[in-house]
Structure formats: C-alpha cells, structure tokens
C-alpha cells in the first residue's frame, strides 16, 4: 500500500483570526485581574469607602498602578473588540463595517489615552 502525503499550507491568520485568538488569551489573563478587582473594590472595600484619598493611597503603590494599567489595556481592548464582533453580526455592508471599525478604534484610542494619562498623572488635589 502506498501512502500519499500532501502538504496542506496552513492559511496565514488574518485579522479576524488574530482578534478571535486575542479574545481567548486576554480572557485567561483577565480572569484573575477583573475578578480580583471586583472582589476587592466592590465587595471587600465597597463603594462607600472609596474616595479621592482612597485612590491616592492605592496609586501610591506602583504595583497597583501596574495592576490598573493591565486592566485598562486588556479589559478595555477586550471589551471594544467584543462590541465590534457583536456589531459585525448586525452589519453586513462592507462600507458601514469600515465606518464602525474606525469609530470603535477611535473610541478605544481616546478612552484608553484618557485613562492612561490619569493613571500616570495620578490624583491631583482639589482646588
């Protein structure tokens, strides 16, 4: 019996494949980050004990700032990409999709930039 072998070229992952992978890999990272953030801030500390001083105290530690930077980078990118994937189910026109993709990209860029500036700048005193 002869065995026929043939090589099948694995298609190069396109943008949608990469975005599909990103959702799953970032999910694994976000589980400890987001669950930890929620359990600590909403359950253990609680919104009634959060104020400007609390944020200042928390951000005095570089570790928490890095934690929040990771949240900002991964959670928000995961969220906006998720919105994009849902909207792609509702929009079939290539042109409208393009507008939607750029709109969401700009939203992501602007909100991430605002968050990053605040995170680096830190808490400013009340005037």
């Amino acid at each position: 019996m002869t065995t026929n072998t043939r090589t099948i070229e694995k298609p190069k992952p396109n943008f949608e494949t990469k975005s599909w992978m990103f959702m799953r890999y970032s999910a694994v990272l976000l589980i400890p980050l987001v669950f930890g953030h929620l359990i600590l801030q909403d359950v253990i500390v609680g919104v009634h004990r959060i104020d400007l001083d609390y944020v200042a105290m928390r951000w005095a530690s570089i570790g928490w700032r890095i934690y929040d930077a990771l949240l900002l980078a991964f959670a928000f990118a995961h969220g906006v990409n998720g919105i994009r994937q849902v909207l792609n189910d509702f929009i079939q026109s290539d042109q409208v999709r393009k507008i939607m993709h750029w709109g969401l990209f700009l939203l992501w860029l602007i909100v991430t930039a605002i968050g990053a500036i605040a995170l680096i700048g830190g808490v400013r005193p009340i005037s």
């Binding site: 609680g46 009634h48 969220g79 919105i83 929009i91 605002i114 968050g115 808490v123 009340i126």
Partner: protein, 139 residues
Amino acid sequence: MSNLKTTLTGYASYRGREGHYSFLLHRITGLGTALFLIIHILDTSFVYFLPDLYQHAINLYRSTLFGIAEVGLVFCVFFHGVNGLRVAFFDLIAPRLWSVPRQRFSTKITLLITLLMWVPASAIMLYNMLYHNFGWFGG
C-alpha cells in the same frame, strides 16, 4: 434594517437550548460590562482631570439605584468570566472534547459556579447598601 431583523429573529427563534442561551447571556453580559467600563474609565480619570467632580461621581455610585445596578454588574462580570473560561478551554485546550452533551453539562456548571460566586458577593454588597443608605444593622 432587514439585517437587523434577521439577526434578532434568529437570536430569538434559534432553538439551541443551553448553548444558545449561554451564547445570548455571554453577549448581553459582555455588552453590559463593556458599556459600564467606558463610563468607569472616564469617571476614574476624574481624579486627574477634574478632581473636584470625582466625589460627585462616587456619590452617584453610592445611590441605591446604582447599588442595585452594581449587583447586576457583578453578575455580568462573573458569568462572562466563568463562561469565557469555559469557551477558551474548549477552543484552545480541548477542542476534541467538544460534544453536545458535554456543552449542555458544562453550561450548567458555569451557571452554578457563577451563582456560587455571585450570591455571597451580592449579600455583602446589599448589606453595605442597607447599612450606609438605610441605616440598617446600626449604620
């Protein structure tokens, strides 16, 4: 517009049982969390841009209405997280294990784990709300 109708009626009428419900719940909880996240990044950035207004934003979050919404948000995040881990496990690690009975079973386990995390968390959050907003438990 017809695309919207086709997608929505498809969402509503497809009879995929547990898998379909978990798909829908994953989308709704994800969208809810993402919308809150946009607001949350902006309100937290007040500490740098508008520190005078930060306390106003926090006072809003302390209100009873937002307190109830917070309990809902925590459910959204817990379900989305646990279910996302389930999806990632079957997609990345064990695609060979994928079968309809296993999907039905794992979906139920996902919901159970979510509730086991969510019920105690909401009890504490509701306790805090009753303590601070209604003066219960000596608050």
